[in-house]
């Protein structure tokens, strides 16, 4: 977002050029793999190996999608649905919990508040991968591995979301407003949902997006927990297929077109929620 405004301080041509070059290179760096993925998913198996990677050969995208839908009774789309469910519902509930926890930590004074917050902050530092195996053993105790819940429940927790929600609630929800709401007879829960939540919306969108992407890309937990492919998210399913490529080379095309389709929901989520996000970051910076 470095649009140069006419009234802002004039940048030197050299620094502007340098910035443009750096941005151009990064854009290229991030977009070329996606371009490659798109191009590759339009090729049939023969063209894939024998034609240039970054330009079209015969356009077979729809044939490939058809093959993907037919393979294994269309299990791929089941995986996509699973992923959308894990990530969508998980991020929604996770955002709600994070918002409530962060809001409570920011707006209520109670003994041990800082300790709770510090513990949550500590949780930010523990990578999800490190928790997968302990979670597996815990879920094993309840015979709950290889179920929808074994992946869904751990996804609801987002220490980073709590952290973000607290910072944002402290900055954007004025105590006076809460006071006024209380005077008008609104309960705490009602105040949270009608007043505070609205003020916190930019942060909530951010948390939702982060959480959505984190769950969508979470690979290790499902890998350890799940054995029935009907529960697989799309990441695990594609990975499993990819390990079979040596045995069944035909799958390679399906893995590629599947990977391409699997990034579309992420792109949609980002594009449609992006403006909230920008508003959020802007609001923080003006303050």
């Amino acid at each position: 977002m470095t649009t140069v405004q006419t009234k802002g301080p004039r940048e030197k041509l050299a620094s502007r050029t340098a910035a443009m070059i750096i941005m151009g290179v990064s854009t290229l760096y991030f977009l070329v793999p996606i371009w490659w993925l798109f191009i590759s998913s339009t090729k049939d198996r023969a063209d894939f190996g024998s034609t240039a990677g970054l330009w079209f050969a015969d356009f077979n995208l729809f044939e490939n999608i058809g093959a993907l839908a037919a393979y294994n009774d269309g299990v791929y789309f089941r995986w996509m649905l699973n992923s959308i469910l894990y990530a969508g519902a998980g991020a929604l509930l996770g955002t709600l919990f994070a918002a409530m926890a962060g809001y409570a930590l920011a707006k209520y004074h109670f003994p041990g508040r800082e300790i709770v917050f510090n513990v949550v902050l500590g949780g930010v530092l523990v990578p999800a991968t490190a928790l997968a195996l302990p979670l597996f053993l815990i879920f094993s105790q309840f015979n709950a591995t290889n179920t929808f819940w074994s992946v869904f429940l751990p996804s609801l927790v987002s220490p980073f979301g709590v952290y973000l929600a607290r910072i944002f609630a402290a900055a954007s929800v004025p105590d006076e407003l809460l006071e006024a709401a209380r005077l008008d007879g609104s309960g705490e829960i009602r105040t949270f949902f009608t007043v505070s939540r609205r003020l916190m919306t930019p942060a909530l969108v951010t948390i939702f997006l982060f959480q959505f992407v984190a769950i969508w890309n979470n690979f290790f937990l499902p890998l350890i927990m799940l054995r029935d492919q009907e529960f697989f998210p799309v990441t695990l399913g594609l990975y499993a297929w990819n390990t079979q490529v040596n045995q069944i080379p035909e799958i390679r095309t399906l893995v590629i077109v599947g990977a391409f389709l699997s990034i579309i929901p992420l792109i949609i989520a980002f594009l449609s929620l992006q403006r909230f996000w920008r508003g959020g970051l802007g609001a923080g910076s003006v303050k």
């Binding site: 198996r45 023969a46 894939f48 190996g49 024998s50 990677g53 195996l133 597996f136 053993l137 094993s140 015979n143 591995t145 290889n146 890998l223 350890i224 799940l226 054995r227 029935d228 492919q229 695990l236 990975y239 499993a240 990819n242 390990t243 079979q244 490529v245 040596n246 045995q247 069944i248 080379p249 035909e250 799958i251």
Partner: protein
């Protein structure tokens, strides 16, 4: 700490029985073939396998055996995560009844006590003669009264070559490694490469050592002997070192587009590979259809008949299964029944581990991609010529990784293959000692 202790105990348990196995049939401790009786009533089993289309094969069984219903669970291939999952599940006590385990991973499961001994289950010991000799040794570890898995498929090796190019260049099909090296020179003069040396397919290299009569591990009952530097192993390493130094083989990473392309454009002329490689070529090099043929592996001495093996898996009954009897019956059916073997071959290109399986009608026909040559005849012969005594070690993943590191250095221009084996040797010994598995010095 706890885990280490457990491993040590189990390792010693294994060794104790290996020692006993030599002189008597008494088996002690955890390796005793437990009683294996059928259960009353209906039994439900879980089976984890990453074979594509395995569900369809299992459906055949389920239809015929209403009282033993098998549910397929799946995941990535063994080293891609399923083996780790098995070990996690074994320690959590919820492993599936049956699991697919490749031969080179079986010793690791055995050492960590992850396998059920199904020797006492009806029909298991009697099935020995049905299987190709070397596969049976893989699942028994040479112990008496012990069977830890049922062999499923194999990967006998042969020489895939571009028949059209060889004929046009007037090169006879190499029958010995010397002829192969000579052919490499001629092919290089014509601008091609005879084949490719893969950095990461260390188990391919092990297959070549296997053919040469060498092996990387053995177990005398007291300790593991690590012999990555055996004479045969070094002989194979020096041979390929020579080809690499003279720029007679290409160095493209295997299984990449570049590698496929080298075959598709006729730049690489041969591939010494396993039976399942037939499919890799036909899909990776579609433009060369009809131009390939298969011959037995080149030999170290003219007139010999030795073959190597690359890959293959077994169906193991995992420790803690409540129904080892039914699980064993299913595993036997899956890997011996002609209908099952045919389905596995058609669905996933599995090449049977039984002697009868090699005569399946689906394996008798000529293959169009290979100029209608009945290529499976060559592999059936190779399967019978594979040294039955080859033994894998308990830490193959680590050994592969360390040797592959060294191979990578060679392809990058530093070190030799023999040095890579030397490093692999010492790192493997370190890994075994770290896991408290006794090693012979």
């Amino acid at each position: 700490m706890q885990i280490t202790n457990r491993k040590r105990i189990v390792a010693l348990g294994v060794l104790a029985t290996l020692t006993l196995a030599g002189c008597s049939t008494t088996a002690g401790g955890d390796t005793a073939a437990a009683d294996c009786a059928p259960a009353d009533g209906k039994v439900e089993l879980t089976f984890t396998s990453w074979i594509p289309g395995i569900e369809d094969v299992v459906d055949i069984w389920n239809e015929k055996n209403p009282d033993i219903q098998v549910t397929v669970q799946t995941g990535p291939n063994g080293n891609g995560g399923t083996y780790k999952n098995f070990f996690n599940q074994l320690s959590a006590g919820n492993a599936p009844d049956l699991g697919q385990i490749e031969y080179d991973a079986l010793p690791n499961f055995r050492v960590q006590d992850g396998l059920e001994n199904i020797a006492a289950c009806e029909g298991v010991l009697d099935s020995k003669d049905q299987f190709i000799d070397w596969t049976w040794n893989q699942v028994t570890f040479g112990e008496d009264e012990a069977v830890y898995a049922v062999p499923q498929d194999t990967g006998p090796m042969a020489l895939y070559y571009r028949a059209d190019l060889f004929e046009a260049a007037g090169i006879p099909v190499p029958t010995t490694w010397d002829e192969y090296a000579a052919a490499a020179v001629t092919i290089r003069e014509q601008g091609g490469y005879i084949t490719n040396f893969p950095q990461n397919d260390v188990n391919w290299f092990a297959g070549l050592v296997w053919q040469a009569g060498g092996q990387w591990f053995s177990n005398d009952g007291d300790a593991w002997d690590v012999t990555l530097e055996s004479d045969e192993s070094v002989k194979v390493a020096d041979y390929w070192q020579g080809l690499i130094e003279d720029d007679l083989v290409s160095k493209v990473p295997a299984w990449t587009d570049e590698w496929n392309n080298a075959y598709n454009t006729g730049s690489d002329w041969t591939w010494i590979s396993a039976v399942w490689g037939a499919n890799s070529i036909s899909s990776g090099a579609p433009d060369t259809a009809g131009n390939w043929a298969v011959a037995p592996m080149p030999q170290w001495n003219a007139g010999e008949n030795a073959a190597g093996n690359w890959g293959g898996s077994s169906t193991a009954v995992l420790k803690g299964s409540d129904h080892p009897y039914e699980a064993a019956q299913f595993a036997l059916w899956l890997n011996t029944d002609p209908e099952a073997l045919t389905a596995l071959n058609q669905g996933a290109n599995l090449y049977p581990a039984t002697k009868e399986g090699l005569k399946l009608p689906v394996l008798a026909d000529g293959v169009e991609f290979y100029g209608d040559q009945p290529i499976y005849d060559v592999f059936a012969e190779a399967a019978a010529q594979t040294n039955p005594d080859f033994v894998w070690g308990p830490t193959m993943t680590q050994t592969y990784a360390d040797v592959a590191d060294g191979f990578g250095g060679v392809l990058g221009g530093s070190g030799t293959l023999a040095e890579a084996l030397k490093t692999g040797q010492s790192k493997t010994i370190q890994a075994l000692e770290a896991a408290a598995i006794p090693v012979k010095k």
